[in-house]
């Protein structure tokens, strides 16, 4: 049942995918991290109206699959909606994915992937 320690021992950063205000706020709390060059990688993505879905998917895949130093991925719920299939099908133990509200989009439990799993379990 317990995960091997190698699955999470290097995971120490929070990553955030969100609109500018959400990312600014989370970074103000001190979680922003840019890895050393030459392969500098940010642990945040600011999404605006011009950001295409492929970029969001790329960042989500990078934080959840490629990078081994991310422990938690925070994503605005309205942005998670744009890549809903990927978020809902994500089942790994690490990193943990949490949907958070943004300034203009309050949290909606009906869209939350965690609550969807709950409803599915109750309905079985």
């Amino acid at each position: 049942m317990a995960l091997p320690q190698s699955a999470y021992k290097d995971r120490e950063f929070l990553a955030v995918i969100g609109d500018e205000d959400s990312v600014t706020g989370i970074l103000l709390a001190g979680v922003g991290h840019v890895t050393d060059p030459p392969d500098s990688q940010k642990n945040y993505l600011v999404v605006d109206q011009k950001t295409d879905t492929a970029t969001i998917e790329g960042a989500f895949d990078s934080f959840t699959k490629k990078r081994k130093d991310i422990a938690i991925v925070l994503i605005n719920q309205h942005i998670a909606d744009k890549i809903r299939g990927r978020v809902d099908s994500y089942t790994e133990a690490f990193p943990s994915v949490l949907e958070i509200p943004s300034k203009d989009h309050p949290y909606d439990p009906d869209k939350d992937s965690v609550m969807k799993r709950v409803r599915k379990l109750f309905g079985e």
Binding site: L14, A71, A93, P109
Partner: protein, 238 residues
Amino acid sequence: MATISSLTPLPKPEDAGEVMAELTTLHDQLDSLWERYLAHLDEYQEAQKQIQKQLSSGFFSLAQANFKSRDRGRYGQDYYDGRTKASRRCGIRHNDDASATLGVEIVTVVVDEQGSTTKGTKGENDEKTEPRQQPSPPSTPAPDDHAQRPVKSDAPTANKQNEPAPPPQVSSGPPRDPLHWFGILVPRELRSAQSSFSCALAGPLLDAVNAGRALRGVEAEIRRVRKAVRRMEKAAGS
């Protein structure tokens, strides 16, 4: 409480009495798991409510800060430090209790001048030192290094580790604070926003993450027991 692993492989009951007894045990375990599941679900929903509350407060303060400095531009990505290092990171611990879940907590990182990092758990050590800003060496050794640093008297861990080093190697730079990306004099509202987001991160956000992880774990156990119940009911029926 018996673990689920103790249930598999299922025993082959000899008579209907044994099957019924086993079935009752499984139903009891299922009830107990549902109880745990609902408790975690309540934690998750409560944490989401708190997140909404804390982040709303943070967004409001940020909007106020932006309103106050319209001539300067928004407090946003134009000002992010492209070389920033995280001063708050996750600490993952393995619980020893029967649930065997993993917890996540925020740790504050202390960075010394050589770039090595020391971690302290949440609230244990709020001190951070700036690795890039080299202080000019004092002409005479400082009599009391602690007096030069913005350090709390109850946070001596890093200082103790640095004691053998000569005084010029110990940083006296300011704490690395993301607020400084936006200038030296930032509006009070921006500090307020920082406070709200920090509180959300250290409290309800982590509670929600941990509750979500716990839900996932119990969910798997419920599925396993349900399957066992179905197999047992099939055995009882045949």
